[in-house]
């Protein structure tokens, strides 16, 4: 009971101190927030993660096939297409693609190429006059010409992929056409048109041009958020661990502080056993780090939408981190003579071990190599971040468990040594 009284007294004091609260919650959140804005800003920047809008000039020279007539209601803007060329133009002008490209029409192949050469457009698509015709022919190979500005990569690639998908679609139609032609033994354009129309209607339903296009845009958007998550999750995790160890050490330092301020000796004059007093102090360290971690996990989720992982692995890892950070704090302080020594020693030790443990985060993934995998495991912070990243990435529970056990082993070693030294000191 007295153990709990002492711990609660310490918690009250910790969370009453504005400085401590800023240190425990404010700083990790602020640093994460800074990175969040930095990367989030990049994500909203046109030159950054957003795909560029490409100017496309289309020279549709397709004269169509005799009687080739399509009326596909699911085409963008519900237009009807008299030729395959028209169909392509309609697809490229489709609403879903307006974010990615601006389509203008040219009268001739020459004019289209000219537009690219003069950098008025990034890509020219030239649909030859015999496009529909060749398509209808049994053995024909319909070919589109794509002419692009060689300095551009992303925009033309997108347009190619749109066209590729479209051509895949119509080659499916072509197989239908071929089978129709093979069946009827004649090349009745009307029949071909009908077959294509039927095929397109079905395939458009299955995969409307919208879907075909939007399958790009949301993809990019998804990549954007997950990229932000991939960066911000470990950063916040790293900050949390870094400051959890500081909290553990500075809270454990209240043992030395109380000794110097006379309240610890005074506690020893009350009928309270030495072990109850020290246990109360240790419990306070543990509870303070616990509160800090849980609050930061929740705030990270709420503010930065960080997915910390599922409950069980996260709980395992968090428990491991809390034990490691608090017992490490107890151990470090058990080595110190006074708080004067403490400020310097624990600042230096925790900063160095913290940076070692989270070297991958501090180098922002720019440095690589085997050492970066091994070195962090020499400090508890390395295991802590490893566990947190495992939880975030949904690693197998066995891996997470192993990391947690390693953290507990660190904790046990720190705790036993620290408690032993403190008990000796105040015996």
């Amino acid at each position: 009971m007295k153990i709990l009284d002492i711990a609660i007294k310490d918690l009250t004091r910790s969370f009453r101190s504005l400085f401590a609260v800023i240190f425990m919650f404010g700083v990790p959140l602020l640093v994460t927030g800074m990175f969040y804005l930095m990367f989030g800003g990049m994500a909203n920047n046109d030159t950054g993660f957003n795909l560029p809008q490409t100017k496309v000039v289309v020279a549709n020279l397709d004269e169509g096939g005799a009687g080739f007539q399509m009326d596909i209601t699911s085409l963008p803007q519900g237009t009807s297409a008299e030729s395959l060329g028209n169909l392509i133009v309609s697809v490229l002008q489709g609403e879903g693609l307006t974010d990615l490209m601006v389509v203008t029409l040219a009268d001739s192949a020459e004019a289209a190429r000219q537009a690219v050469d003069s950098q008025e457009a990034g890509v020219a698509v030239i649909i030859p006059a015999d496009f529909s015709q060749t398509f209808s022919a049994l053995e024909g190979q319909a070919v589109l010409e794509v002419y692009q500005d060689p300095t551009l990569t992303l925009g033309p690639a997108i347009i190619r992929s749109v066209l590729d998908q479209f051509m895949d679609g119509i080659s499916g139609a072509k197989i239908t056409v071929n089978s129709v032609l093979a069946h009827s033994q004649s090349s009745d354009p009307a029949l071909i048109g009908q077959a294509v129309q039927q095929y397109m209607a079905v395939s458009a339903q299955a995969q409307s041009p919208d879907a075909l296009v939007t399958s790009h845009a949301p993809d990019a958007a998804k990549q954007e958020t997950s990229l932000l998550e991939q960066i911000i999750g470990p950063i916040m995790g790293g900050m949390m661990i870094f400051y959890a160890f500081f909290t553990g050490t500075s809270t454990a330092q209240t043992i030395l502080k109380e000794d110097e301020e006379g309240t610890l000796p005074r506690l020893f004059t009350t009928p309270t056993s030495q072990s109850a007093i020290l246990s109360g102090k240790f419990l306070a360290v543990f509870l303070t780090v616990l509160v800090q971690m849980v609050v930061l996990l929740i705030l990270g989720r709420l503010i930065f939408q960080i997915a910390w992982g599922s409950l069980l692995p996260l709980a395992l890892v968090t428990a491991g981190i809390i034990f490691a950070a608090s017992s490490c704090g107890i151990f470090i302080n058990s080595l110190l003579k006074s708080t004067k020594q403490g400020g310097v020693v624990f600042g230096a030790v925790l900063t160095m071990t913290g940076m070692l443990g989270m070297i991958k985060i501090f180098t922002m993934g720019m440095a690589t190599g085997a050492a970066l995998e091994i070195v962090p495991l020499f400090v508890p912070q390395g295991w802590a971040i490893r566990g947190l990243v495992q939880s975030m990435q949904g690693a197998p529970i066995g891996d997470v468990l192993l990391t947690s056990v390693a953290l507990l082993a660190w904790s046990a070693a720190f705790f036993i040594l620290g408690v032993w030294r403190f008990q000796k000191r105040y015996a």
Binding site: K2, T12, R13, S17, E261, T263, F268, T269
Partner: protein, 312 residues
């Protein structure tokens, strides 16, 4: 009746320094007992051993029959300690402090709440109970510091220089509360280097210096050591080796000591001796620049026993 505190030949050294060198004394129940001594005399070291914070090198003490060596928990349960340096949680309020310390003394619930109210009343801080200790004046902090030691109504209370560094008003109220504690039946072991406090409060006084107890008794008994001697403090305008020699052989002068430019003399009767001192000074070519006469008191006793002034 068994003494509240029986101190048996306590020794404590810090390296070469003998902080307490063979202390033995008995404190009868219900009395105020003072340890009077200058800085570094060993008062706090004695108190620390008697409150089981420091382990004596040798010797033992019984507090209400509990040995500080064999039964420290028993000692702690009958004991309230007011440490020399204020030991409180400054970021907690007066009430929060008292409540926390009350719990450490094993009080709970309604009894705790009631006792905290009572103690706040005793130390006169009922109005300020919600205020943080860090915002308190030195005197108020001292009062809370004392209040903590009263929570469990201890039989014996140690007060280690409880009036250091505070205004006269707070000091007065603390001295009154010490007397009130005695009247309530408590035994008080009080340390101070203020002669007047020891004189006013104590049933018995022990004078301590350099770890040794040099005299014990009631105030009157102690003053008798110096008999009817008066104490004269003098300052002179020159280096006074010659005049000191002259004064030492002046009739009626019992003792001459020099300390930091001040000369302390113990004399039979200052009215008769003073003119002779002036004559001797004139003969030696020395001018007396100030004179202060004190009637027999503990200062004189301390001076007589140690050759030094109790206060600087």
């Amino acid at each position: 009746m068994q003494p509240a505190i029986e101190v048996q030949n306590l020794h404590k050294s810090f390296g070469e320094l003998k902080a307490v060198d063979g202390a033995s004394f008995n404190v009868p129940q219900g009395e105020i007992y003072s340890l009077l001594g200058p800085n570094g005399a060993g008062k706090t070291t004695t108190i620390s051993m008697l409150s089981t914070l420091l382990r004596p090198d040798s010797g033992d003490a019984l507090v209400m029959g509990h040995s500080i060596r064999k039964d420290p928990m028993g000692v702690k349960s009958v004991l309230g300690v007011v440490p020399q340096d204020i030991a409180l949680y400054e970021d907690l309020s007066a009430r929060e402090n008292l409540t926390f310390w009350g719990k450490m003394y094993g009080l709970r619930g309604a009894a705790l709440k009631q006792r905290v109210d009572e103690v706040l009343e005793i130390i006169g801080l009922t109005d300020r109970q919600k205020g943080r200790v860090s915002k308190f004046s030195g005197g108020m902090k001292r009062r809370v510091n004392i209040g903590v030691a009263l929570l469990h109504k201890p039989k014996v209370i140690y007060m280690d220089e409880p009036t250091v560094g505070i205004d006269p008003q707070s000091r007065r109220s603390i001295l009154d509360s010490v007397i009130a504690l005695k009247n309530a039946g408590m035994t008080v072991l009080y340390t101070t280097h203020y002669m007047e406090e020891a004189q006013e409060l104590s049933d018995q006084i022990t004078i301590m210096d350099h770890g040794k107890l040099i005299a014990s008794g009631t105030h009157d008994e102690l003053v008798k050591i110096v008999g009817q001697m008066d104490r004269i403090r003098l300052t002179i305008n020159a280096e006074g080796a010659r005049v000191v020699t002259a004064w030492k052989s002046t009739p009626g002068v019992k003792q001459v000591t020099a300390e930091d430019g001040t000369l302390n003399l113990l004399v039979d009767d200052s009215n008769q001796v003073l003119p002779r001192l002036f004559d001797a000074a004139t003969t030696s070519g020395v001018r007396i620049t100030s004179v202060d006469i004190q009637l027999p008191n503990l200062e004189a006793v301390f001076l007589h026993l140690t050759g030094r002034a109790l206060r600087d």
